[in-house]
């Protein structure tokens, strides 16, 4: 099989790139091709182009959900490999505050206003379930900055006790359409939360949210998306964090 290798490496770079992406370069030739990729940006670009061209085929590969046990085992190994001896939760804290610092100053005033809005307008907390009273009272406030894909903050939202308060912090062009707030849980479809306003604070009810859920805002017809899924462009999104 390796007879093809030297011929490939000397031949047309386009052939090499495509065959490399298909996995048809084998044995020592594959390692050699990789070496060459490191040194040759044009070849690397062609490999990336082939990866993009063929990636839609991967749509046809059925997902294979891992059983809970296997998933936990694999994650433990990943966690051990990425932060040997470190506490993953500790890592997480530092990272949150690093990121929060970036926008904290810019939005401190908005957050003040938001907290006020929240206490004035949020619905009363639901009665805690008898089985988990301490959990309900200890529920942290979650906050998200919703930014454009280019990173410009448009809204700041907080969630506590089944209520969301969301205030605009930047100007957005809605072109006659109306911003609607969505919540997205990992791997799930967006669920509508309610219509919001790009000029004033709004409070909405939302049964539950947790850190790592994402809030997103899309532009919709008056009254909200007619389909139950976003129909207009997503103008801003951001992840919920413990405040």
């Amino acid at each position: 099989m390796s007879d093809s290798g030297s011929e490939n490496l000397d031949g047309d770079a386009a052939d090499l790139a495509a065959e490399y992406v298909l996995g048809l370069i084998e044995g020592p030739d594959r390692a050699a091709a990789r070496e060459r990729l490191r040194a040759d940006p044009a070849l690397r670009a062609e490999v990336e182009a082939w990866e993009q061209r063929l990636a839609p085929l991967l749509d046809q590969v059925a997902p294979a959900p891992l059983s809970e046990n296997v998933s936990a085992r694999v994650w433990e190994r990943i966690a051990a490999a990425v932060s040997p001896g470190a506490n993953v939760v500790g890592l997480r804290r530092a990272a949150i505050w690093d990121r929060v610092g970036v926008w904290r100053l810019a939005t401190a005033a908005s957050l003040g206003a938001l907290a006020l809005t929240f206490f004035l307008r949020s619905p009363p907390p639901p009665a805690p379930a008898p089985s988990e009273p301490q959990l309900a009272s200890a529920a942290p406030t979650l906050a998200a900055t919703l930014s454009t894909p280019s990173g410009r903050p448009l809204f700041v939202a907080t969630f506590k006790h089944a209520g969301v308060a969301i205030v605009p912090v930047g100007s957005s062009r809605s072109d006659g359409r109306h911003p609607e707030l969505w919540i997205i849980k990992a791997g799930a479809k967006p669920v509508p939360v309610g219509m919001i306003d790009d000029a004033r604070a709004v409070s909405l009810t939302l049964a539950s949210a947790r850190a790592s859920d994402v809030f997103a805002v899309s532009l919709e017809p008056a009254g909200g998306s007619p389909t139950g899924a976003p129909t207009g462009p997503v103008i801003a999104s951001g992840q919920l964090r413990i405040l």
Partner: protein, 184 residues
């Protein structure tokens, strides 16, 4: 539209991974491990091997996430490509080829991409299938078997019952044709 939102969610999560946020890696793992495990399993056919590779994939994601550029690649394509490359590396590193695995690859029926499971833009998917559709059946099958199942030239030639040299020129010509079609 929800594809855009999920892509956005994943792109943001990868950005956080790039910033060294291990909890974001966990989020990415939870959202994508089934898909990436599916890709690894399809190529490797051995769950234990696929698990090993899956671990390797996410530690690679951890190291490389800072280099992920959402303007150049969709996040799921980026992840799936890492998974596929790692699985192919593992397959090629096996001391003895499992011929039976290659043969059984023939029996695997592809799931039709349902709207919900769709990872890529419908437009890109349709375009690729349209261009693949212009190839002769045997050649299209060979490209799919190489890309999705990790078949070697040797295995492809045996499958199609043609000499190795013939298969090589089939593939090279088909790829050139495919590229021309996709770039039109």
């Amino acid at each position: 539209m929800d594809l855009d939102v999920r892509r956005e969610w994943l792109a943001i999560a990868l950005q956080r991974v790039g910033d060294g946020d291990a909890s974001a890696l966990r989020d990415v793992y939870e959202a994508t491990s089934a898909k990436l495990f599916g890709i690894c399993l399809r190529i490797l056919r051995e769950p234990a091997d696929a698990e090993d590779v899956l671990q390797d994939v996410y530690t690679t994601v951890w190291r490389k996430a800072a280099a992920f550029d959402a303007t150049r690649a969709s996040p799921i394509t980026w992840l799936a490509t890492i998974a596929r490359n790692r699985a192919i590396d593992r397959l090629r590193a096996r001391p003895s080829r499992r011929m039976e695995a290659i043969e059984t690859a023939l029996d695997v029926v592809d799931a039709s991409p349902s709207a919900q499971a769709r990872l890529e833009d419908a437009q890109d998917v349709d375009r690729l299938h349209q261009c693949l559709g212009q190839l002769d059946d045997h050649r299209r099958d060979a490209i799919r078997a190489a890309f999705l199942d990790g078949n070697t030239y040797e295995a492809l030639a045996r499958r199609a019952g043609v000499p190795l040299g013939t298969m090589k020129s089939w593939i090279r010509r088909s790829l050139a044709q495919l590229k021309a079609c996709l770039e039109r």
